[in-house]
């Protein structure tokens, strides 16, 4: 296989869709297509990206309405068959609402939107999304969200830890997230959700390339 085929799902209100497309296509030189939320099936892709943004205005609850978009059944089927899915920011929130990942998101502790570079630590490098990083690597990568205060009950947290499902932790907790969690993976290891934006740290000009290796890891894994 020469190129990986990425599918970037576009919900009304998604706004990092172009950015993800750009990085995958122009920086990483892979095949990318948009998947409109009204489609009911995912076809011909190796990895689905649920991009950041404000799907349906984030009204009611982040990700709550998007979770019922027609495409989500397709995404769930795709994931259940072992397909790779990465949800970034709003994408992560949608994955939580859809039940593909455990837990929920609360408002940031300071009740403000926070946009800035943060440092996150890699906890699990044995995933399709992180295999190219060094063990315990610290990445500089931006966050931009209102609701990144990850919540999970104690039992759930224990399970996450036991199964090595916590993939990223903030070095300094910006939003109140339980156990400094910045990103988690499902038990099966094919669905990743993360609040930081790897697409925003994929080019030198923008201050950091630490995020690019997530996408590169995916390519590496599928090949």
């Amino acid at each position: 296989m020469e190129f990986l085929r990425f599918g970037v799902v576009v919900f009304p209100g998604s706004n990092c869709d172009h950015d993800c497309f750009y990085v995958l296509n122009n920086v990483l030189k892979q095949d990318v297509k948009y998947i409109w939320h009204k489609e009911i099936e995912v076809r011909d892709v190796d990895c689905i990206v649920l991009p950041g943004g404000f799907s349906y205005g984030d009204y009611l609850r982040t990700g709550a309405i998007a979770r019922f978009s027609p495409i989500m059944q397709g995404v769930i089927d795709f994931a259940n068959k072992g397909g790779l899915v990465i949800g970034i920011c709003n994408g992560f929130q949608i994955l939580l609402e859809a039940g593909l990942l455990p837990g929920a998101m609360l408002r940031n502790k300071n009740v403000h939107f926070i946009c800035k570079h943060v440092h996150i630590k890699l906890l699990n490098k044995n995933t399709p999304f992180t295999n190219l990083y060094k063990k315990d690597e610290v990445l500089k990568i931006p966050i931009a969200h209102n609701e990144g205060n990850y919540y999970i009950d104690e039992k759930g947290l224990k399970t996450l830890k036991e199964n090595n499902q916590i993939v990223f932790q903030y070095c300094a907790n910006p939003n109140g997230a339980a156990d400094n969690i910045a990103g988690i993976i499902n038990k099966e290891g094919n669905v990743l959700g993360m609040m930081p934006h790897p697409e925003r740290s994929s080019e030198k000009e923008l201050g950091s390339q630490d995020g690019l290796f997530i996408f590169k890891s995916i390519v590496e894994w599928v090949k």
Partner: protein, 737 residues
């Protein structure tokens, strides 16, 4: 029958009403009257400002496009469209939604021109933070800007905020937006070609913003009605869909013209699209999507509901347009067609309601307003500097200045804005100007907003010139060539001659400065009647300026980069304190004249800086503004949070008062830092441009130390400085009263 009471309460004068009668040769219908009142208002018709705005330069070193609703410049085959607009009064009563809908409005102006919005900025003014309501306003406005901009996915990359008592009771919220398009993709805001369709797209129409016109209601207002708010709830989600749908229909080639329904809604869109297209429009109201029941025709015509647009579509292509809008779950209905005679003809279920020549509506009267130099100027313009006592501890003064909310770091604000989305922001907020790259080229745009309104209060003409000069200086510090301006002119009641004098002089100041720098004024906006019971706000001609960077690798930021670099001061420090933040804060005086401005010297300093940056000689460049040399240097040390770098400034040797030296706000000064080996080349460049250059110290260490003639004036740790400056605003907001 229309009574004088009716038209007067709509804001029309007797004379204007007589003019309408003679133009129509009959009495207007209620709907027509509402339309005239809207079109001939200050807001839409610019009746008291248009005469003066004519003098603003329409050309400059970059080819300029003055569009119907916004303007821009061309860089190669890219059009950069930008504009700034005010939303002051709605924000004063409902800060979050007022600011949000302000952002929404200006962004609509950009994408209806066919440009994809790529960045927003703002210019904000509040009264003193010691008043709880002003705190509430600041928090609400910032919340509104983040709520709207973040959701739309347009990065908010910069702005400015000042606090002054003059804005008590009347805050200013000016929003600026920048978009880009291929030169040949730009859209026009007119309707033409007999038989082509007029389509209504976007949100439904409700009774929003018809406040002023409600006198036309024939029925008695029932309880809820009478208090109908003029503030609306912003819906960035809808607008995001509208952006995508609009850019998609524009790419079909079927759209001949498109216009946002902003002020005066449908009235403005219909009459201006017809008159700008030198044609007429015939339309039927019953097809318009309504959100509320039993709306009167005049209500529909003046409603200012958000997120709606009027589109002129090639006959036969309506279906294609409709399909695109349905894909985004948005309305798109055909409501009329272009006709040959230049009339606006409006029907309501087959009954004719309006039949007026389009350009009668759009040609609002223009007035020459009387003006007179304000009384206050005599009193405050002279400042006897000898009665201003020099403080004994300059460390304390510096810390107090860094704490003052107008100077303090605005990180608390811009951290709430998504300033990175769209992957273009190369220089993030926190430096003199933000820089966004133009993907697919080697170029970048720098943008800034600036205006010191205290200077404008003391000296409107020079204050306005300084606003332009400072904006240009900020761009230059980022490595950009100043290219073009948008302005937002916030003033008091234009009918008061002293206010109008301020306005006139500020417009003249902007004009002269822009002509001097050879930059055009591509777009702008006027907001009058910014008054509180104590009087008008300070004259505030906010300047938004964009600059062009030809080589993205030659971008510069304001903070020191290395230890042991040389610190250079370009320009001359005069013994002047007039209008300074220091004078206000420490001596509680708003007096004197605005700082001197020698435009030739300003240009020399800017050319020197730009050339040195382009030649790769400097490591940082920061202009001096509020708080003067001491504050500017401190900012160089600490504005990169990840790497604080100290400085020892021990070679000042100036022969002026110490407070003027440290905190005076002389214009046309820039701080550079460079490696020692670059100094000679920079000196050569300075000499060529006849710029005064002085090496005043070097970087390094973890303290900020300033001395003059062996006299230690300032000696503070970087932690102390950084903590004071970067947390001040947050502390002010969190502190209870």
């Amino acid at each position: 029958m229309i009574t004088s009471e009716t038209y007067r309460s709509l804001g029309l004068t007797d004379k204007e009403y007589q003019k309408i009668l003679s133009l129509l040769k009959r009495e207007p219908t209620v709907t027509e009257l509402a339309m005239f009142a809207a079109e001939w208002s200050e807001h839409c018709g610019y009746v008291s400002s248009r005469n003066l705005l004519k003098i603003l330069p329409k050309t400059g070193k970059y080819k300029t496009l003055i569009g119907e609703d916004s303007g821009g410049i061309f860089v190669d085959d890219i059009a950069i469209i930008f504009k700034m607009e005010s939303h002051n009064h709605p924000s004063q009563v409902e800060p979050k939604q007022g600011a949000a809908t302000g952002v929404g409005g200006i962004i609509r102006d950009i994408f209806t021109a066919g440009a994809r919005p790529i960045a927003s900025l703002n210019s904000l003014r509040f009264g003193s933070l010691s008043e709880p309501y002003n705190k509430y306003l600041l928090q609400g406005v910032v919340d509104g800007i983040q709520f709207y901009g973040n959701c739309l996915g347009v990065p908010t990359i910069g702005g400015e905020i000042y606090f002054d008592e003059s804005y008590n009771g009347n805050c200013l919220v000016n929003a600026m937006s920048i978009g880009i398009a291929k030169k040949n993709e730009l859209a026009k805001a007119c309707a033409f070609g007999e038989g082509n369709s007029i389509m209504y797209v976007g949100a439904s129409t409700g009774r929003d913003g018809i406040g002023g016109c409600s006198v036309l209601a024939s029925h008695e207002f029932s309880e809820g009605d009478a208090k109908r708010p003029t503030v609306q709830i912003g819906d960035p989600f809808m607008e995001k869909c509208l952006i995508e749908a609009t850019l998609e229909i524009l790419s079909t080639g079927y759209v001949l013209g498109i216009k946002d329904m902003g002020a005066a809604g449908l009235t403005c869109a219909v009459s201006e699209m017809a008159s700008d297209g030198e044609s007429g429009i015939d339309m039927e109201l019953c097809n318009i999507p309504l959100r509320e029941k039993h709306m009167e025709p005049w209500e529909i015509m003046v409603s200012e509901s958000q997120a709606r647009m009027l589109v002129c579509v090639k006959a036969g292509k309506e279906k294609a347009i409709k399909n695109i809008f349905s894909k985004w779950d948005l309305n798109a209905v055909t409501i009329g067609k272009v006709i040959k005679d230049k009339m606006v003809r409006i029907w309501d279920n087959g009954k004719i309601l309006v039949e007026v020549k389009a350009d009668i509506l759009t040609k609002a009267p223009i007035y020459d307003m009387p003006y007179k130099k304000p009384e206050y100027m005599k009193k405050i313009n002279n400042l006897d500097i000898d009665v201003v006592h020099e403080p004994s501890d300059y460390n304390i003064v510096l810390l107090n200045l860094l704490k003052s909310p107008s100077i303090a770091s605005k990180e608390w604000v811009y951290e709430q804005y998504d300033h990175m989305i769209q992957l273009n922001t190369v220089v993030l907020p926190g430096s003199d100007a933000a820089v966004i790259r133009l993907k697919g080229t080697n170029k970048a745009i720098a943008a800034t907003t600036d205006c010191n309104s205290r200077y404008c209060y003391l000296n409107p003409y020079r204050g306005a010139q300084i606003a332009v000069a400072e904006a240009a200086r900020n761009l230059v510090c980022s490595g950009a060539e100043p290219a073009s301006v948008t302005d937002c002119l916030n003033f008091g009641n234009p009918k008061k001659p002293d206010r109008y004098w301020q306005f006139k002089n500020c417009v003249q100041g902007i004009t002269d400065a822009c002509e001097f720098f050879d930059v055009s004024v591509a777009s702008g906006n006027v907001s009058f009647y910014n008054e509180n019971p104590a009087g008008a706000v300070y004259p505030t001609p906010a300047i938004g300026m964009i600059g062009i960077i030809d080589d993205i690798n030659k971008v510069c930021t304001q903070y020191f980069k290395n230890e042991d670099d040389l610190i250079i001061l370009l320009g001359i420090s005069l013994e002047e304190l007039g209008g300074s933040e220091y004078l206000k804060l420490v001596h509680e005086l708003v007096r004197g004249d605005a700082p001197e401005l020698d435009l030739k010297m300003e240009r020399a300093v800017q050319l020197t800086t730009l050339e040195a940056i382009r030649d790769g000689l400097v490591n940082s460049a920061h202009d001096l503004s509020e708080g003067g040399l001491a504050v500017g240097l401190a900012e160089c040390c600490m504005s990169n949070k990840e790497k604080l770098i100290g400085a020892v400034v021990d070679n000042l040797n100036f022969d002026i008062r110490t407070d003027a030296l440290l905190f005076g706000e002389s214009q046309s000064r820039i701080i550079l830092s460079c490696a020692e080996k670059s100094l000679n080349q920079i000196k050569k460049i300075a000499k060529k441009h006849k710029t005064s250059l002085q090496v005043i110290g070097s970087t390094g260490g973890n303290r900020f130390i300033v001395s003059n003639n062996d006299n230690k004036l300032i000696d503070l740790s970087l932690e102390k400085l950084q903590d004071t400056w970067s947390n001040a605003l947050r502390r002010d907001i969190d502190s209870s009263n």
